[in-house]
Amino acid sequence: MAELRYAEALNQALDEEMARDEGVILLGEDIGNYGGVFRVTKDLQEKYGKSRVRDTPISEQVIAGMAIGASMMGMKPVAEIMFADFLPLVIDALVNQASMMNYSWAGQVTIPFVLRTQGGAGAGAAAQHSKSLEAMVTHIPGIKVVMPTTPADAKGLLKSAIRDPNPVVFLEHKMLYNTKGEVPDGEHLVPIGKAKVVREGDDVTIVATSRMAILAEEAAELLAKDGISCEVIDPRTLRPLDVETIVASVEKTHRAIVVNEAWRFGGYGAEVAATIAEMAFDWLDAPVGRIGIHDLAIPFAKPLEAAAIPDAGRIAEAVRETLA
């Protein structure tokens, strides 16, 4: 165990997997000599060479396409898309190519690549560099979508993602790279498809993804002072979703709030909320609450941006409302 930053934990995962498997190669913009604009690929080009760690042109479509083609031929590419806001440029590759190959080609190939990116607001990066676009990838069958919150999960899930025979979209958060946590050394694998109960509680279940899971814990702390007991669940894997863990919790608490940093309308939170409302129907004592970022282009000015992003206060308020 060592205390590592989230970015360092990811770097460690990449390093270990590259050492373990020669097929692992890295593709992306500024990931080589510079080590990535968020330092996730730091020192890896020096260690593994320019053939395995490649700075690409600013050509997102072919970055994704290359990951697909190379993975078909036995490599395990880990491609970085610098911002989740650029995911739209690779959705064709995901939904029209990667998603269908294993099924439509009747199992002749697997497509074991990982597409890493990072999203989220809070850095004053405005409308084109702050979005959470997970809904655009979680809708695609045949692709797994992972979204780690803690450094330990970041490492363990990335290692699992690299070893997975399916395409995995790996969603990081720019405001988490500097957060610290204990990370197990060496072979630490977090299974894809298992949610984590971050905090146990009885009165309400909060399902929250990525940075929102941390805010949900803060909200739970606040509420605990008033005797309100929250169970906080971090799905960690968005697709396939661990419905069982979530529904079991709601069967206990009878109430649920879903927090996802994306736009609320048509967001990933809608899937979680609809699923809870359906599967836990007989146990629910109140409508499932759903919180997202303000439903407009993300503004630049600090007060506007801050007001747009869900915070612990808003989560706590939603919990109080559901209990009212």
């Binding site: 190669i25 053939s51 395995r52 490649r54 690409t56 042109p57 050509s59 479509q61 072919v62 994704a64 396409g65 290359m66 990951a67 697909i68 083609g69 190379a70 993975s71 078909m72 031929m73 036995g74 490599m75 590419p77 064709d92 590759a93 029209n96 190519q97 269908m100 190959m101 294993n102 099924y103 439509s104 080609w105 009747a106 199992g107 002749q108 190939v109 697997t110 069958p141 045949g142 797994k144 699992s160 070893r163 997975d164 025979p165 399916n166 694998l189 299974p191 894809i192 396939p240």
Partner: protein
């Protein structure tokens, strides 16, 4: 733009093999139209009628372990690469014995065994992953080559640009085969690109751009041989443009009317099969040529028979796991 050198002349045996494959392609595709009209096969069907020399000549120079990826108009590349007509037709009929068990249909086939990997009907969608295949070969120190086939229309698509740029940059072992058949769907290429020759763009990616008569199978073979050899040597990609013509409509749903009669007539005179037959006629007797036609017809008849009598894909094929399985050791 470099001229293809007049080297790498195909042997008589190679010419004969290409001839049979071209005729197989033509006959196989001709059979699809009545079958489509009769409602026995479905989906839009695109044929490469008139373009067989390009498809067969280019793929003839590939090894079995090389890859070809193609588009909605890919039957020639498949036959050229050695994919059995049986598997192709059974796929088009949606049968269990099809290359992809009927899941893919005619626009999306793949055949790993024979290096058809794969088909994409997203215009411009193939080159990015072909470049990825070539990247894998480069990383693996292999001398395999990936050939990426696409049309003149696709050349205007951004994905193709990105793919050619990175291939030129990294000197990847890929051959871009742009089959310029003068149309993208119903729109003439002159209304899609301001330049007549797509190969003129190759210099912008630091790769040779080669233009050949796409209805002359020998010329295509030679140019492709050079491009493939170059890629195999590690000297990087080539953009090979074959000038050819789509003798029939865009697909089975085409209502036509936009290809001028005179244009069609002029190209009919340059039918690539007729031309190869003439070349072969210098070495072979008419009877030998007829025997090759019969051989091709036999392959096609057999494949249709096979496809039509194969069982339909069972419904179970829908209810398969969404994901490839994670090996136990991995978790």
């Amino acid at each position: 733009m470099a001229k293809a050198a007049k080297t790498n002349r195909p042997t008589l045996d190679e010419l004969k093999e290409m001839y049979v494959k071209m005729v197989v392609t033509r006959r196989m595709e001709e059979g699809l139209f009545p079958e489509h009209r009769a409602g026995n096969i479905r989906g839009p069907i695109h044929t490469c009628n008139g373009q067989e020399a390009s498809a067969i000549g280019a793929t003839a120079v590939l090894r079995k372990d090389d890859l070809v990826s193609t588009t909605h108009r890919g039957h020639g590349h498949m036959i050229g690469k050695g994919v059995p007509a049986r598997g192709i037709l059974a796929e088009i009929y949606g049968r269990e014995t099809g290359l992809c068990r009927g899941r893919a249909g005619h626009m999306l086939m793949a055949d790993l065994e024979n290096g058809l990997l794969g088909t994409s009907a997203i215009v411009g969608g193939g080159p990015p992953y072909a470049v990825g295949q070539a990247l894998a070969f480069q990383c693996q120190g292999s001398d395999r080559v990936a050939m990426s086939c696409f049309g003149d229309g696709a050349a205007q698509n951004g994905m193709v640009h990105e793919a050619m740029n990175v291939a030129g940059l990294w000197k990847l072992p890929v051959v871009f085969l742009c089959e310029h058949n003068m149309y993208g769907l119903t729109v003439p290429s002159s209304s899609q690109s301001p330049i007549a020759d797509i190969s003129d763009r190759a210099a912008g990616y630091d790769m040779p751009g080669v233009k050949v008569d796409g209805n002359d199978v020998v010329a295509v073979y030679q140019a492709a041989a050079e491009a493939v050899a170059r890629a195999r040597r590690g000297d990087g990609p080539t953009l090979l443009e074959t000038k050819t013509y789509r003798m029939v409509g865009f697909s089975t749903t085409d209502i036509g009317g936009y290809q001028p009669e005179e244009e069609i007539a002029a190209w009919a005179k340059r039918d690539p099969i007729k031309r190869l037959r003439e070349i072969l006629g210098k070495d072979l007797k008419p009877k030998e040529l007829d025997a090759m036609d019969a051989e091709a017809q036999g392959i096609v008849d057999d494949a249709y028979e096979f496809a039509k009598t194969s069982p339909e894909t069972p419904l179970d094929d829908l209810y398969v796991p969404e994901y490839a399985e994670v090996e136990a050791a991995h978790g």
